[in-house]
């Protein structure tokens, strides 16, 4: 077998194995077979064309052509075959990509099957195959062949919170091993063929360079990976399950709205996603969805019956509907969702498209159009404010909603510790509203810390982690904990997901991606579903007025009143509630709920980055002080000083000549002024003597060695420009200096 054949086969096997690492991302494994066909085609191209000794560029062009054809062909077969598709493929292909990207953005892993995603996966794997083949067979750098498949591995490894598993890693490792083994066999063949000594020597000297280069790159990369791995949010969402159920009128898949919550809260850059103007006072919470079911998996969707029409049914549980209507004009910017953001309680809306609604939760769901159709959507909604009066609510009793079978049930397997906690908190409260207020006050107390990095876990475990152990979490944990405890004390509850009111400017309200929020809704007879706000004030401002008991012993801040009803024009700088506070992790120092965890991680990352940046300088300084500390035998001291002078010369951009100490000393001395050059000659003589003389007789010059060394170092540094000086301090070239090997010129 020829060397090129062996490389091509090894690369093919390696990338085929690497495909398995992506499996955790999607529930549709069919992309594997499709990718394998492509990989084998590309591998065979490489094998065949390299056999007839075509150049790299020719092979690469052929491979890219194959990839493009395959990708296009795949897009045609994947789409539901419409007749004009063959003529309009150039529109269809990009849209399939866009669909896939959108799908990935909006779905959590494992993703539902999607044609766009399949196309993307297969194409990306093809690209990785080409890159790997180029590295191994094209430019003969098999040691680098780990890089392309490793990117496949890193996507699930970094993107998924869960362990990616040993199998995935083994796939990559075995594939890489295959490439290295093939290369080992090739080089053995090279040796035994005995063409010439030079090829053997070339191999011998090239490998350490590759290893060293890989080392320089790999070590920071591994450090960065570990750091990022800790810092990046994982997508596992404690307390919330995957509540996908078919819609009442068709097989409509409901996505879990909480999945995006944490990701959006941690968006590196905040961006506006919704703008709205509203006629009523203050901003409104824009609700996307409600999760009514509590189970061992946490809060989730249930099967719901969807109705047509843009007029919504009566508000559940509300005895008398207020006459006053609030008209809100909403414009969705860069945000995709199948739920329509609406203020509670919506009465009518006029969004274009096919929308269905649920009578119990009053949520509105897209029926048919794709998620990206939500973008640029503009619509008007009429709603009524159902906020109860504080004193009235105090006398309310917990009601029985229409879907009480779901919303009023305490799961039988709910851990006792959680039940006991709920009962203990509410022991002093006598009415349901007082109990709810007590729970909210408890969660808003300083015992709890707002953090987007809660302890991992799911279902009851997450609730226990949050309430009993860590007491750190974000709106999801607060909302689900309060809703759970409300159930325990007999109040029907559900968790809603949506947006905080956002920030007001002259044109209206702007809601950003980090305003995404979750809150509990509790059901009271005659009042219907009432919003509570257990998430700390640092994020949400003060609790709604009706949720605060004036005689409440838990002692939350009774003064503020404005969270849900902020009046435009009233706000003072820094008055969090009126400006529609955002769930920004940087929003620190506004109370007890400071995100210490996040601060620490940010600080930690900053420190690590600083440490990485400072590492070369530190290593260099340490090396220098180790060399010049004046300990050890005289010979070693002289050699250390010599090495230090060499590194200094290299650091400041000079070249270190090849040759004997005397020759080097002469050449370097020529670059220095008279006094320093005298020192340089003396040090060179010392080195020569220590290396070649029978016994090292330094004639008392050792005491002057440190002085001479520092003189020479100063002399070397003096004429260098500031850029060289900066480089010498921060990124000393000597650290990257290769060991000089004798090489014929």
């Amino acid at each position: 077998m020829r060397a090129s054949d062996r490389s091509a086969i090894a690369v093919t096997i390696s990338v085929m194995l690497a495909c398995f690492t992506v499996i955790p991302l999607t529930s549709d494994g069919s992309f594997i077979a499709l990718s394998w066909v492509l990989i084998i085609a590309i591998g065979a191209t490489s094998l065949g064309l390299r056999r007839i000794r075509l150049t790299n560029s020719a092979v690469l062009s052929a491979q890219i052509a194959i990839l493009l054809c395959y990708s296009l062909g795949l897009s045609l077969t994947l789409s539901s075959a419409t007749s004009d598709l063959t003529t309009r493929w150039f529109e269809h292909y990009p849209s399939l990509w866009a669909q896939g990207i959108e799908h990935m953005r909006t779905q959590a892993s494992p993703m539902e099957p999607d044609d766009g995603v399949k196309l993307i996966f297969v194409t990306v794997i093809g690209i990785i195959m080409i890159m790997t083949d180029l590295l191994v067979s094209g430019i003969g750098r098999p040691a680098w062949a780990i890089a392309p498949p490793a990117t496949l591995f890193l996507v699930p490894a970094l993107g998924l919170g869960t362990d990616t598993g040993v199998i995935s890693f083994c796939c990559i490792a075995v594939g890489y091993l295959a490439i290295l083994v093939a290369e080992g066999l090739n080089s053995t063949a090279r040796w035994t063929r005995g063409l010439s000594r030079d090829s053997a020597e070339g191999f011998g000297t090239a490998m350490p360079v590759v290893w060293r280069a890989a080392g320089y790159l790999a070590v920071p990369a591994i450090i960065a990976t570990i750091v990022l791995g800790f810092a990046l949010p994982t997508l596992s969402l404690p307390g919330f399950g995957f509540g996908n159920g078919p819609g009442g009128s068709g097989p409509l898949q409901l996505t879990d709205p909480t999945l995006d919550l944490r990701r959006n809260l941690n968006q590196p850059e905040d961006r506006d996603v919704i703008q709205y103007q509203t006629t009523g006072p203050g901003g409104v919470y824009l609700r996307l969805a409600s999760l009514p079911q509590l189970s061992a998996n946490g809060w989730s969707n249930v099967q719901i019956r969807l109705n047509n029409g843009q007029d919504l049914p009566a508000i559940p549980g509300l005895s008398s509907e207020p006459d006053e209507r609030r008209t809100t004009t909403i414009r969705v910017l860069d945000f995709g969702s199948q739920y329509l953001p609406l203020p509670y309680a919506p009465r009518t809306f006029d969004a274009p498209g096919d929308w269905r609604h649920d009578a119990n939760s009053l949520i509105v769901i897209s029926a048919g159009q794709r998620v990206q159709d939500m973008r640029r959507l503009a619509y008007t909604v009429e709603s009524v404010d159902t906020d109860p009066d504080s004193s009235d609510l105090n006398n309310a009793v917990a009601g029985t909603p229409a879907d009480a079978a779901v919303t009023a049930v305490t799961p039988p397997d709910l851990p006792d510790s959680l039940i006991q906690l709920a009962n203990r908190i509410t022991a002093d409260a006598d009415t349901p509203a007082a109990k709810a207020a007590a729970i909210q006050a408890y969660l808003r107390s300083s015992q709890f810390t707002y953090s987007t990095e809660p302890l991992p876990g799911s279902g009851y475990e997450a609730l226990q982690n949050f309430l009993l152990r860590d007491r750190r979490g974000y709106c999801e944990q607060f909302a689900s904990a309060m809703a759970m405890m409300a159930r325990v004390v007999g109040i029907p509850s559900r968790v809603s997901v949506g947006f905080l009111p956002g920030e007001q400017d002259q044109d209206g309200w702007r809601v950003s991606i980090r305003d995404m929020h979750a809150w509990p809704e509790l059901y009271f007879a005659n009042y219907g579903w009432v919003r509570f706000e257990p998430t700390p004030a640092s994020v949400t401002g003060s609790a709604p007025a009706w949720t605060i008991q004036t005689e409440d012993s838990a002692g939350s801040d009774p003064s503020a009143d404005a969270s849900s009803e902020p009046t435009a024009g009233e706000e003072s700088p820094g008055a969090v509630p009126s400006t529609g506070p955002t769930e920004q992790p940087t929003d620190l120092g506004q109370g007890a709920g400071v995100a210490w965890g996040r601060t620490l991680i940010t600080a930690g990352i900053a420190l690590v980055v600083l440490a990485i940046l400072a590492a070369p300088a530190t290593i260099r300084v340490r090396r220098r002080s180790g060399r010049l500390n004046g300990s050890g035998p005289a010979e070693e001291q002289v050699e250390a000083a010599w090495a230090e002078i060499r590194d200094t010369v290299v650091d400041y951009g000079g070249s270190w000549p090849e040759g004997s100490p005397r020759a080097i000393g002469r050449e370097v001395a020529d670059r220095l002024d008279a006094e320093d050059s005298e020192s340089m000659s003396r040090v060179a003589t010392l080195v020569e003597r220590s290396r070649y003389a029978r016994s090292f007789d330094h004639g008392g010059a050792m005491s002057e060695l440190p002085m001479m060394t520092s003189e020479i170092r100063r002399g070397v540094a003096a004429p260098a420009g500031w850029r060289y000086k900066l480089m010498a301090a921060l990124l000393p070239r000597s650290l990257f200096r290769r060991k000089q090997k004798a090489r014929p010129k």
């Binding site: 004997s660 020759a663 070649y692 003389a693 029978r694």
Partner: protein, 333 residues
């Protein structure tokens, strides 16, 4: 002045006193100065001749006629108060002219040994490649053995014993080129080269009216030189430098440009020459610089260039210099 030879039984005379490296520097400085009165602007050639003297080797001076080859040899001989013989090699020179011959003495009715031209401390063999190979061999054998056997009697040549042979480049007419086996016995080869214009001007000034060679007075004697030779032998060569020497010689053997590399004898002579070179700098240890400085002179006349190198018009000197440069200089003990 001694006869310059001893019977084999009488060898092993130790020098009168022990000499230090300081003496080497001083005495050699005097000799150098004396020689430079005669040979202007040829410091490196003069030094190399002295190195070969101290290292107990023989010197081959090669260049076109008239550049001072013989002058160098003579100047060396005159500067030292020891026996100096000059043998002009011609095609009809016989081996017995070199080694000597046993002649029947009518009075004593016995054979009496008449020593030939080789019996001296410094033998100047002029135009050595003009003699027949047979005669060349006679000289070269005694050079290596440092003894002469005539009619079953072995005569030991008294140290210091140094042959300074001059030869014209082999392309010249009427020459018998020295076989490589014989060239190998010379420790070093000097190519004199033309003097610089300034030196040539000086030469016109000083040599124009008088013969400076005649004015040259000996500044030392054979016994001192013997002592200095002993002192040079004590110069230390570290293992790293020995390794370097071996590497350098190996580089000539592995060079693609050379058909024949240097012999192990060359390795040994390079070591000895390096010792002498170090001693003349007043150092009691050899550095790689010493070895490298002598590399071309010691190695170049022993090797044969490959056809490729010849076609590419690369001189042996260049090839050797390149080979020397390719050897990594030892950076630890």
């Amino acid at each position: 002045m001694s006869l310059g030879y001893e019977k084999a039984a009488e060898i092993g005379r130790s020098p009168d006193r022990t000499y230090s490296l300081g003496d080497v520097v001083q005495v050699m400085g005097q000799v150098r100065q004396a020689m430079e009165n005669v040979i202007e602007g040829k410091r490196s050639s003069v030094d190399l001749a002295l190195v070969v003297l101290l290292a107990e080797g023989h010197l081959l001076v090669e260049d076109v006629p008239g550049v001072g080859k013989t002058m160098l040899a003579k100047a060396l001989g005159r500067s030292i108060a020891c026996s100096v013989r000059r043998v002009q090699f011609t095609p009809d020179l016989l081996p017995s002219d070199i080694t000597g011959v046993s002649v029947f003495n009518q009075e004593t009715r016995d054979f009496e040994f008449k020593p030939g031209g080789i019996f001296a401390n410094i033998v100047v063999g002029d135009e050595i490649n003009r003699a027949s190979p047979k005669t060349q061999s006679a000289l070269l054998e005694s050079m290596e053995e440092r003894q002469v056997s005539v009619d079953g009697t072995t005569y030991r040549l008294e140290p210091p014993f140094m042959v300074v042979a001059t030869q014209n480049p082999i392309e010249m007419e009427g020459t018998y080129p020295l076989p490589e086996a014989q060239r190998d016995r010379f420790m070093a080869r000097i190519q004199m080269g033309y003097p610089t214009p300034n030196s040539e001007l000086d030469m016109l000034e000083s040599h124009g009216s008088s013969d400076p060679l005649a004015a040259l007075q000996p500044v030392t004697d054979g016994s001192t030189i013997r002592g200095l030779i002993e002192a040079v032998k004590k110069v230390y060569v570290s293992p790293a430098v020995k390794h370097y020497i071996v590497q350098m010689v190996n580089a000539t053997r592995n060079s693609r440009d050379l058909r024949l590399g240097a012999s192990p004898r060359a390795t040994l002579q390079l070591l000895r020459a390096s010792r002498a070179f170090a001693a003349m700098s007043g150092r009691d240890y050899v550095t790689p610089d010493d070895v490298a400085a002598l590399g071309v002179s010691v190695l170049a006349h022993r090797v044969l260039p490959s056809t490729d190198a010849q076609l590419a018009r690369r001189t042996v000197t260049d090839v050797i210099a390149q080979a020397i440069q390719s050897v990594h200089i030892p950076d630890r003990r």
